[in-house]
Point group: C2
Chain length 697, copies 2
């Protein structure tokens, strides 16, 4: 990937002398951004632009070309790519649109490009993108117009949309926050976000990576990369609704993924998800400060109202406002002019016009061992004390950078003064209000306190997969939609998942015998592949408590089975010991098209249906991670035992989650699997799975 950003020669293909020719903007940028390498222009009509001759084809250039940036009609791409290959160009940025984003009929054209690239060993970015920028060497290939008002900074950007990526660059310029590398990746036909992310995480100039994605190329690879990262990764994954998908598909050909799974996956591998430009900028600012390593915050404000608002925000984001030492407060008090304000944390210094003292207070406070970071509000209106205030901004920056702890500085002032301060201190983030500042500090704190449990940490159990694979192969060969309950149970048993004692009965005598063996009461259920919700057809009988009820139950269920047309018909009936105590929980799994096996758990019934109180993880999960899932479920407080009830056996439940996690990874043929209900018995007594459904297509 490095070669995309550090070419020594660039050919811009598609340039003409027409004033509406877009490729000219690429040339303009290379010059505007002071590209340190050599530039060649290519266009069939020849001529020249900005003192550079336009070669009719790439082949006419005698120099070696490290990178070609192409903006010509889509249909011309195969021929141009061929020429690139023949000229031994190994990196190409295809900015042309008109590919699969228009519809599946363009897939053939895309396939042609992939084939040609493969033949010549070309790696390319695009099509349908605005190209790359490297602030280090001035490489800048967008056709979207930019002035080079950008600072060099530690942030690098991967954007599936040129428009959104470009808008971010403008916002960064407004904040005088710089960037290092930028890549717009469009249809991601060859190079995708994972390729670039891996590179950037090893790139010396990059300290934070931001991704704008409308689709995710390979969710598991993204997670694996993020697990290994020592740099913060921020991502705006858009395309979250049906209407979005319609337009995203026509824009970059991206399909939508399950929102809940994206959220779970990102949390799991510590990718911070942002949802719009505002939250993007705040997260970028968060990581532009030294890290917030703990939760203890000091708030100092030059306006009482902002001190109140800052305290609200500090509480909202869970910070602890440490008290100031008494002698320190006394010192400050003695130097205030009228003593009309009471001091504490937050500290309202509205009456303080001694800017050296303000500096001293900030500096002493940040140096304290019991303070992890500060939120400082500096109000001034640029008429009185404007020089003092501006200079204080610089001093606070120094305190922050030297102290290696964050000071989130809100400069509350006029637009003009704000821009002046921004300009004076590039790459030092400033905030406009306490809410944003506290949010940024919380992002940094949460990143510092992140717990990453990668797939590798998941324990694996020895399982003989022969029987499960045989069951699935047999059902698959018949295009069955789901497995019978008995087959599902057999697979679970292979994975050592504890089941409520069960057996099959093919006549009423056998049913009675089984029931007697388990001890009454029992439950009886139909088991066939055709029953999606057994209880909907009356196929579940509970609490059968004597021989007659069992017999009658058998006949009732047998009659139901007789009315179905399914082949092969499952004639046997499930007889199961009735589990009458414990908390009802479910554990499920499904195969996500983007992230692969995903595991879910929650309390059963209304908690899921009404409150959506479910925890999700991309599998496999470690025991520790499974335990954290229950920490996330609000209803799991019940499992700890409330109102005098005994606590449930959470350890056994975690064990089930781990087993199911491995099962979902081992057997992706199972599209969905739902263990529901699982009865969680009191601590030390385990859990019992009562019912299960496995969908295989």
């Amino acid at each position: 990937m490095k070669d995309f950003f550090y070419p020594e020669t660039v050919a811009v293909v598609g340039v003409s002398s027409s004033p509406t020719n877009l490729a000219r903007a690429i040339v303009y940028h290379l010059i505007e951004f002071r590209y340190t390498g050599k530039i060649y222009l290519v266009g069939p009509k020849g001529g020249s632009f900005m003192d550079h001759p336009i070669y009719p084809t790439i082949s006419h250039i005698s120099d070696q070309i490290d990178l070609a940036a192409i903006l010509t009609p889509a249909s011309t791409l195969p021929e141009i790519m061929e020429m690139c290959g023949q000229k031994d160009i190994k990196r190409v940025v295809i900015e042309s649109a008109g590919f699969s984003e228009l519809g599946d009929d363009k897939k053939g054209l895309e396939q042609q490009l992939v084939t040609i690239a493969g033949k010549y060993g070309i790696r390319f970015i695009g099509p349908n993108c605005i190209g790359v920028i490297n602030k280090e060497n001035g490489l800048a290939t967008p056709f979207m117009p930019f002035r080079n008002t950008f600072d060099l900074g530690p942030l690098s950007i991967i954007s599936q949309s040129g428009g959104v990526g470009g808008a971010l660059l403008n916002e960064l310029a407004n904040e005088n926050l710089g960037f290092n590398k930028f890549a717009s990746i469009g249809n991601k036909l060859d190079t995708d976000e994972n390729d670039l992310l891996e590179f950037l995480l090893n790139d010396r100039g990059t300290e934070t990576v931001f991704l704008y994605l409308e689709g995710i190329a390979d969710g598991r690879r993204l997670m694996e990369t993020a697990f290994r990262s020592s740099k913060p990764i921020l991502a705006h994954k858009s395309n979250t609704s049906e209407a979005s998908t319609r337009i995203a598909r026509s824009h970059t050909g991206s399909l939508s993924a399950s929102e809940e799974v994206v959220n779970a996956a990102f949390r799991q591998c510590s990718i911070h998800r942002v949802t719009d430009m505002n939250s993007t900028l705040t997260a970028i600012k968060a990581h532009a400060l030294p890290p917030m390593r703990g939760n203890r915050l000091a708030v100092i404000s030059r306006s009482g109202g902002h001190a109140v608002v800052a305290a609200d925000a500090a509480a909202k984001y869970g910070f602890v406002l440490q008290p100031f030492p008494g002698d320190f407060l006394k010192m400050v008090e003695s130097r205030l002019r009228a003593g009309v304000i009471r001091l504490g944390n937050p500290m309202d210094l509205g009456d303080l016009f001694d800017f050296d003292l303000f500096h001293e207070i900030v500096s002493n406070t940040l140096a304290r061992d019991d303070i992890d970071g500060m939120l400082v509000v500096l109000n001034y209106n640029g008429i009185f004390f404007e020089e003092d205030s501006r200079s204080l901004v610089g001093k606070i920056k120094e305190v922050c950078l030297q102290g290696k702890k964050p000071v989130a500085l809100c400069v509350v002032t006029t637009g003009e003064e704000w821009r002046l301060n921004r300009c004076n201190h590039p790459n030092f983030p400033m905030f406009t209000e306490p809410e944003e500042a506290a949010y940024a500090l919380s992002i940094s704190r949460d990143y510092c306190q992140r717990i990453v449990s990668s797939f590798k940490e998941a324990e694996t159990f020895v399982v003989d997969k022969k029987q499960p694979l045989a069951i699935l192969a047999e059902a698959g060969s018949r295009q069955a939609q789901q497995l019978t309950t008995a087959k599902s149970f057999e697979i679970l048993e292979t994975y050592s998942v504890p089941l409520a004692p069960w057996g099959q009965a093919r006549n009423s005598e056998e049913a009675v015998k089984r029931a007697a063996a388990f001890g009454l009461p029992v439950a009886m259920k139909v088991m066939g592949e055709e029953f999606i919700h057994k209880s909907d057809v009356g196929g579940v009988l509970l609490n059968l408590s004597n021989e007659d009820e069992v017999k009658a139950g058998y006949h009732r269920l047998a009659a139901i089975i007789q009315t179905t047309a399914s082949r092969p018909k499952e004639e046997a009936i499930l007889v199961q010991k009735m589990v009458t105590e414990g908390y009802e929980v479910f554990v499920g799994a499904k195969q996500d098209p983007v992230f692969g096996p995903v595991i879910l758990t929650g309390l059963g019934g209304v908690y899921v249906e009404i409150f959506g109180d479910v925890a999700r993880r991309v599998a496999p999960v470690s025991a520790e991670e499974a335990g954290r899932m229950f920490g996330e479920i609000r209803g799991s407080q019940l499992l700890k035992g409330v109102r005098g009830q005994p606590p449930g056996d959470l350890e056994a439940l975690v064990h089930i989650v781990q087993r199911v996690s491995q099962l979902a990874c081992d057997l992706p043929q199972i599209q969905e699997l739902d263990l529901n209900p699982i009865m969680v018995l009191p601590k030390g007594r385990g859990c019992l799975v009562v019912d299960c459904r496995m969908v295989i297509s």
Copy 2:
């Protein structure tokens, strides 16, 4: 209140020739804002400032003074107020700090001011504020420095904090959104937000009111005022945490109110609550556009990525993206230059460089009957097509204003171009990103679709309060903490709240007789004032199903009662018919220090404890409003009957809420009241209150 904003003469008190004298800023502002009246300066040292003589006292001025703005040490205020009174000045703005915000020992000083004001019929704003501004006549008394870069607009502002209010003015200036009137109210010793709000809602120049409040002076009056308002009211109620209260108290002497009650009250009377500067600005912009009267949105973007992001935002805020008519799409398609983009809603016009066509598309779309508003994203970077783009901004504004429907226009561009566009179109709001634009449109839509059910609409029932008042008076005379269950039940019966059949037993024979009369099984409970949670002491026995159990139960409870030291001791035991079916619900009420009687309801048990699934209203509520409470509770889906269960009698439950609502209003002596559980029987069969607790101090 009008006289605060339209004085013909103003005296500024506290001016001196010292360069750090803050009152000089007031004089500066009156001149900077081109105040149309006459200005007089007062200060004991005399001299002059900005060509105005400084009079030693107010009495030295011969002209009549309509308004005095005072910024002198707190201790001087009583004397100055006396002089104001003697000079027949009826309106005073006290900007001095050093009053109750410093502590309760300053309450005396404040009381002095109130007394003097009362004596002379003076109304005053403050103390501890930055004064008032009226953009109409240039009245501007802040001591905080401002340049008059503000446009005249339809927004008026009431701010408890000068700093936060001032910051908002700066933000408005950055957005070229104007304001009409501004009042900073500080300690609200005389004039409070209600006085000013009532005035502004009748003020011709004001179309929207924003309030920043750290405390609420009189919650019910605020609500009554808001109920009557035909203008949108926005409020940032800060001071939401314990640390905030600490600083707010020392800043403006405000106490914190219950957050949930504030939220409920504001929703009830359609005050839109904002939480920070960002959401404040978005709400102000929302109401600066024509109203969004429905939910049907068209999205047009010049960047595909922003079209995706806009569709995400539209879905998030619940808008419907109407399809464009087919012939219209064909027309647009025929005029696009390369046809590389598919059209729909959102419409991606990234390839369109015909700005007249863009204008035509926006104009035709907004005119459609099936479109209630538009979200338009205009990307340009200020190098190519900058003139066309700037002119398009103006044209879209015209389309919006003439069409009387909102077009939320996102101008995605460089900071420089953004400021230029803002400057060209004062008072027309622009947005920086689709998220903000969609949020603003949703605020406008929600305001248009608001349902306001004022206190007056609550039905009142004829109740003879004699017995309840006697019960409360008797218990109050003994400083009892709560009522016995029997007394609580008697009060509920007076209010026609249906109870599970109950009676009292003073011996086991009586208990058996009662039980037989109700029919077994029964419940038995202790009833004394001393039992806070009866079941914690074993004072609740359920499901007693025969005579022996009832007898034994009586003796068990009687023994518990004997061990308590309470006087007077309630010896009688409650015998109650056991209600074994129905959904468990609770209805409660409490007296809020700011809003008075508040009513709460929710499903019992874990739904409240774990999910906080509770609906609240300030009482009294109408039947309709009570019905909406259940619409808000997520768990109330259960009441509608899920999984084959019968729906509950919601009508009867609403009836209980209404009765309790009236009870809470009639009997504020009852601090807290909790009907829990109420069993909601199947539809048509009513509800039965099973237990109740009334706390009276």
